[in-house]
Point group: C2
């Protein structure tokens, strides 16, 4: 194994990508033609065929062990290229299944007949197809980056691939697979490209994901609907009570009032908050896009902090009483709400669910009965920016984009990342190359050719820096 | 005209009722057979036929002028028996239309084939039919009481009858008729039997009705539904905001916080509150019947005061966001509620609606937009227990039942009563003989034979005392 110096590697990759660009595109286009829609059993053979295609691509790229691992659901493609057990191991995770393409009528070209079109954001062209960005395109960057390192004899460490086919339907089989294969999957870092970056000029790394606790509450007042004239004022109205109970869950600073809720919330370092604040952001544009006169949230935090590094409590649905046309003077017997809490790393979703349940039951007046039904949840996740993985990714982006990456906390939740940490004891680096505008999960999903090729260029540098920093 | 002494009148009525009981029942049964459902145009000829039947009954009872007055809707039967323009005039109001009988399958006998059955509360039998109590039976008591006074030459004053056919659909034509016929309808008191009493052992008089202001509110946050992970905590969630706004409408003592809301609310005299408190009432039974562990309401008032002499604010319906099965992590763009306020006499419903609108808009945070849409409303009403009408009714009940009547404020609203006061400048006396258990508006409506005959006995005594007290 020869380790080139940086400039050599850089020149080499650029040249390799340039020389193989057409093949890289046509191979990806072939993969995108297979409609691997995991949510619809009509496509089940296509999903299985895609697993085979991924296996073949890994073998062709030079991976010395590849297998299709059967699961209770769709298979997982596992690949392994061990060069020296004393060297670090990178585990690449991705998925070969895609979202359903509906609504079909909104696609400007068929979702499984990929075409290249230019857009304002992608003047070099973008591949339009279901799965182009999420995640076939981003996953395939890793296969091609690996091919380059093998072909040029510059792979600096061991690599494992775990490419699943049920990400869009909840990764159930993956959980089972990971829990049962800790040894097989052992690694030093997990590398995923299934998120986005700020722009083609400004790379970013998703360093945190929020956890989730989702509950449904039911407030019961009288045992039947009552006439609001005859009973109004004398009987607890479950809707009024529910509004009071929900309102009390935030104080005047929009802090959540559930006792113990913030106990495990870590305040971010001033350094990381400063890094986050570098993200280009216009509050005016944000407000304009949502047509709101003002933002709203926890005192002491910026908009981008409120929706990422801070836990929240939102009502996702509420209903009770008469909701039809006109008026009905009724006091409902029951009122309901669906409430979700986004959690930050270290908050345990099951513990938070329990805290919510106990608190919500405790604040109910004696005049009503309250039921809290937990729906589901997931843990949050964070990668410290001081970690070797983050530093290696940042150096890689800096080399290829010419500017440092910005750490970004996403407000959303990817439960498998927390699972990986729990089962494999490794941190995950979310090196995304997609853009928010790429329309994943929507009609006309696409992935910029610039982004695809830039990803292939950047990934080998991550390997190089990760190994160097691990020494 | 001869005025008998009390005992003579009493003996006379009892005897007359006893001698004519079977005819009184069979005449009412004939009237109940006509399906005068004003809400359903399929029955329009039946409604008109019922007006004719009422006219005929008044003529037969001895009324010297009766006419069918055409209106934009169903006709109003107007009758007049003037004996001396220097004597007081009683205007009897009632209605000959009935509620729709649905759901038919819950009736134990057909709604327009009246039958007499005994019940626990009505050991002497009750007539089961739609309209038996509401209001054909109670209206017909007045026709038969009038017949008695004519037949026995003891009518002590002038009488007018105004029996309408649209009470169950909003009395629209009646409003038009009253506004355009103030002279024709001029009177000293209005007498209505279209409410209930506490029990067959404890008569009561409804002295107050609450007014109503009904509004719908809409809170708009972002211009589209948002992902609660990506936006949660940074954008005002219209459901959370709505719950906070609604919750703030009551303080910790369950007083309504709208500025000016209580300005015109009159505190009842200690005497009237003491009278009201005599009403037989068991809080344990009340709680048991509604299956609630505790009552709930404004500090400083009893349950029977809270639902009658105090204004209230209740949410009648609320909705927003995802309300289906399972979970969806959405921040809704809009949230809605229907809110009604029950008002007490002197509170003007249009003024209160305006106060609500101004206050609700003023408490909205800048981050949302709020719309308040008034639905409808009506004024409250009260008859002082010191009034001649109340005193006359109380004396009449006391004679026939052997116990004083208890004044009862109803929490419900009958907008026409406020209209009568406004247009005719007369107070209304609500002498109800029905029971809460009579199932008006429900399947198996019935009216006790005891109640029907007791009404016929009691009404002439009201006339007698009203004339005596008016001197």
């Amino acid at each position: 194994m020869t380790l080139f110096n940086l400039q050599t590697i850089m020149d080499n990759i650029k040249q390799y990508v340039q020389e193989n660009k057409e093949r890289f595109l046509s191979e990806l286009i072939e993969l995108l033609k297979i409609p691997s829609v995991s949510a619809d059993s009509a496509y089940s053979q296509d999903v299985i065929n895609t697993a085979e295609a991924v296996k073949t691509s890994l073998v062709k790229a030079g991976c010395n062990f590849v297998e299709i691992c059967e699961t209770p659901g769709y298979p997982i493609v596992f690949g392994e290229h061990i060069i020296d057990t004393n060297l670090p191991t990178v585990l690449v995770y991705g998925h070969y299944d895609v979202q359903p393409p509906d609504p079909m009528e909104l696609w400007t070209s068929p979702p499984f007949e990929p075409v290249i079109k230019t857009t304002e954001i992608h003047p070099d062209g973008a591949i339009f197809a279901r799965g182009a960005c999420d995640d076939k395109g981003q996953m395939y960057m890793h296969v091609k980056a690996f091919e380059y390192m093998i072909a040029n004899n510059c792979l600096p460490c061991n690599v494992k691939f775990m490419i699943e086919g049920e990400e869009e339907v909840g990764s159930k089989s993956l959980s089972w697979f990971v829990e049962n294969n800790q040894q097989k999957l052992s690694c030093d870092v997990i590398l995923i490209s299934d998120t986005g970056m700020i722009s083609n000029q400004q790379p970013s790394i998703t360093t945190g994901l929020r956890g989730l606790s989702y509950v449904e509450v039911e407030v019961t007042g009288p045992n039947r609907d009552l006439h609001s004239g005859l009973y109004g004022g004398a009987v607890a109205n479950p809707i009024n009570v529910l509004t009071k109970m929900i309102a009390s869950l935030h104080d005047e600073n929009n802090h959540i009032t559930i006792p113990g809720f913030y106990d495990k919330v870590e305040e971010l370092s001033a350094e990381e908050r400063a890094e986050m604040a570098k993200r280009p952001y216009s509050e005016d544009d944000y407000k304009k896009a949502l047509d709101i006169a003002d933002v709203y949230g926890e005192t002491g935090y910026s908009t981008n902090e409120r929706n990422s590094i801070r836990p929240t409590l939102d009502v996702n649905g509420i209903w009770g009483g008469y909701t039809g046309e006109g008026a009905k003077t009724v006091i409902a017997s029951k009122a309901y709400a669906k409430i979700s809490m986004r959690l930050v790393p270290n908050q345990d979703w099951e513990e938070i669910t329990e805290l919510f349940k106990n608190h919500f039951e405790s604040i109910a007046p004696k005049s009503v009965k309250v039921k809290v039904k937990p729906h589901h949840g997931g843990q949050g996740y964070v990668t410290p920016i001081a970690s070797i993985g983050y530093q290696a990714a940042n150096k890689a982006y800096t080399e290829t984009f010419g500017v440092q990456a910005i750490p970004v906390r996403s407000g959303g939740s990817i439960p498998i990342v927390a699972l990986f940490e729990k089962e494999l004891k490794s941190k995950t680096i979310l090196m995304g190359f997609g853009l928010d505008s790429d329309a994943i999960h929507s009609p006309n999903e696409h992935f910029g050719i610039f982004n695809y090729l830039k990803g292939i260029e950047t990934i080998p540098l991550f390997y190089k820096y990760f190994v160097e920093l691990s020494k």
